[in-house]
């Protein structure tokens, strides 16, 4: 089994072959963290780059993300038992209260999973308190907020304020995105970042993790 074949299975979104490939590597004694870091994540990084440059499109990215999720589900028990395993960052994501649009949010979720993050998707129409509750429960350090409507983007401010006023969560990194949102708006409401596209959201989350 070559590493290339797993990376190719991710890029090609080959759900059928990736289970067998990952299981074979595990049976050969290959370290689970190594499979994740050296094969799966670089594969998804290529997918992200190609999507960014319109060389891959949404259906292909969805297939790749499904292959990635399949591989991660197989690796999970092994990663948990590996004392040297790097803990995967947990990211909370949701569309803010009053807004039911989720295409952009789902795309970011898919690409974050693909980039190796543990993503808790709260869905659409999420009130500020739920972001707080889920963040506490999952000990997440990063929250992504989405809104498509001008009328609901202002609810992002309510979420940011709720985090800033919370004694245990005031340093949570908050990233916002969606059609009406801008960098200026992000700064005006005190968010930590703004992403105009899904690949940019992944880059921004990676940037948060490196800080």
């Amino acid at each position: 089994m070559s590493s290339d074949s797993i990376q190719q299975a991710i890029i090609m979104g080959n759900v059928a072959s990736i289970s067998a490939d990952v299981n074979q590597l595990l049976s050969e004694g290959v370290n689970s963290q190594m499979i994740l870091d050296e094969q799966l994540l670089p594969g998804m990084a290529i997918v992200g780059e190609r999507f960014k440059h319109n060389e891959m499109f949404l259906p292909q990215v969805l297939m790749s993300a499904q292959a990635m999720q399949t591989a991660i589900d197989i690796l999970k028990p092994h990663l948990a038992g590996n004392s040297e395993a790097r803990k995967r960052q947990t990211v909370i994501i949701g569309t803010v209260k009053g807004d039911m649009h989720d295409i952009g949010k789902n795309l970011v979720r898919i690409m974050l999973i693909g980039a190796g993050y543990e993503v808790i998707d709260l869905g659409v129409n999420v009130p500020a308190q739920r972001f707080i509750d889920e963040c506490l429960q999952h000990q997440a350090a990063i929250v992504c907020l989405s809104a498509l409507l001008s009328s609901t983007m202002n609810n992002m401010q309510e979420v940011v304020q709720a985090f800033r006023n919370h004694p245990d969560l005031n340093d949570t990194k908050i990233l916002i995105g969606g059609a009406p949102v801008s960098r200026e708006f992000s700064q005006s409401i005190g968010a930590d970042g703004y992403a105009p596209t899904a690949p940019a959201a992944v880059e921004q989350v990676q940037h948060f993790c490196e800080q």
Binding site: N54, F57, L58, M100, H101, N106, V124, L149, S150, P180
Partner: protein
């Protein structure tokens, strides 16, 4: 000159003394209509028609959107999370409308490609086209009959991610699915034509702000040929065809022209769809409608709206082929004063 004549002139590339202006579909949400009409807002049994007529007269709009209508939706239950009623549309999908939110899909028309293969669209031949007829016979607005095609409606009925995955996993079945949806919508288009529509608007979102959802080559091989047949059949009735899609369509504009589309609507500046630029490149083959950002009407001030509208008219009006409007519809969160300012500028900026 009537609104109808003004729009038809634009399509013939004749520059009129003022540019045509209007919206697609319902055009203006009820919140906006109430705000603009004030005490002229009608509450009687014919309120919907009268209020839509009055707001267009007050603003000076040239266009009205109208649909052939199906039977009332069927209530089928209560949504577990939101406590709202769920209802089944005539396509067979179940939806709900959570409080203060847009309609959401609850149950798709199929859970597997096999289910989709055996799915049959509704018989729409007894649907009601009288509203199209009424607008045509009692007003001078350009009557733009609105319907769908196969792509946007396709994912509305299946759910977005499922639809996207099946374009790869069940390609042949998806092609059949587009054919079924388009055949049904073509029937609605022909009924609209018979009822007096001045043009057909195909609403079919294909893109987001950075490009098409799917590979343009996929659209070229699996979707556009079916769309092209639909457009050809509509044009055989003598009607021009408008096409609405949000997002950045630059990679597929030549394909839409090849399909026979006459007018591209939306042209969202947030997706870098700038009408003056597009006119320079494709203006001989395609007219354009829209280009005023809905978010500008929501968050901008009157002066910003006036300047943007004035500049757009200045840059886009030459030689016709341009209809002013928003890049979508006038949403409830837009500022009525900004909407009025946009229309007022259109009426002042005369050739």
């Amino acid at each position: 000159m009537t609104g109808r004549e003004r729009v038809l002139s634009a399509l013939k590339r004749i520059e009129t003394s003022r540019v045509p202006i209007g919206e697609i579909g319902g055009g203006y949400t009820d919140v906006i209509i109430q705000a603009v009409l004030g005490d002229k807002y009608d509450l009687g049994p014919d309120a919907s028609f009268l209020n839509h007529q009055r707001i267009r007269e007050i603003l000076g709009a040239d266009i009205v959107g109208a649909r052939v209508t199906g039977p009332p939706v069927e209530m089928v239950g209560i949504h577990e999370d939101w406590g709202t009623e769920t209802f089944r549309d005539y396509w067979g999908a179940t939806h709900t409308q959570p409080p203060d939110a847009t309609v959401q899909l609850v149950e798709p028309i199929a859970h597997s490609p096999e289910e989709l293969e055996s799915w049959r669209p509704p018989d729409v031949r007894d649907f009601d086209s009288s509203l199209v007829n009424r607008w045509k016979n009692t007003t001078d607005f350009f009557v733009l009959a609105t319907l769908n095609a196969g792509f946007d409606l396709g994912y509305e009925l299946l759910g977005f991610e499922r639809f996207m995955m099946w374009t790869i996993q069940a390609r042949h079945i998806m092609k059949q699915y587009y054919e079924k949806l388009i055949e049904t919508n073509l029937t609605l288009a022909l009924m609209s034509a018979e009822a007096g529509a001045d043009a057909i608007l195909i609403a079919d979102d294909l893109a987001f702000n950075t490009g098409t959802f799917v590979d343009p080559d996929y659209l070229r091989s699996d979707y556009f040929p079916i769309l092209k047949n639909m457009v050809a059949e509509i044009k055989r009735q003598g009607l021009p065809v408008f096409f609405h899609s949000d997002g950045d369509l630059k990679h597929v504009i030549p394909d839409l022209i090849d399909c026979g589309i006459d007018v591209l609507q939306s042209c969202d500046p947030n997706a870098n769809m700038d009408i003056p630029t597009l006119k320079g490149e494709y203006g001989r083959d395609l007219a354009f409608m829209g280009n005023i950002d809905v978010d500008l009407l929501a968050n901008g001030n009157v002066d910003e709206v006036k300047n943007t509208t004035r500049n757009l008219i200045h840059d886009a009006r030459s030689g016709g082929g341009f209809i002013l409007g928003t890049s979508n519809v006038v949403a409830s969160y837009c500022q009525p004063e900004n909407l009025k300012a946009m229309y007022a500028v259109a009426h002042k900026e005369l050739k």
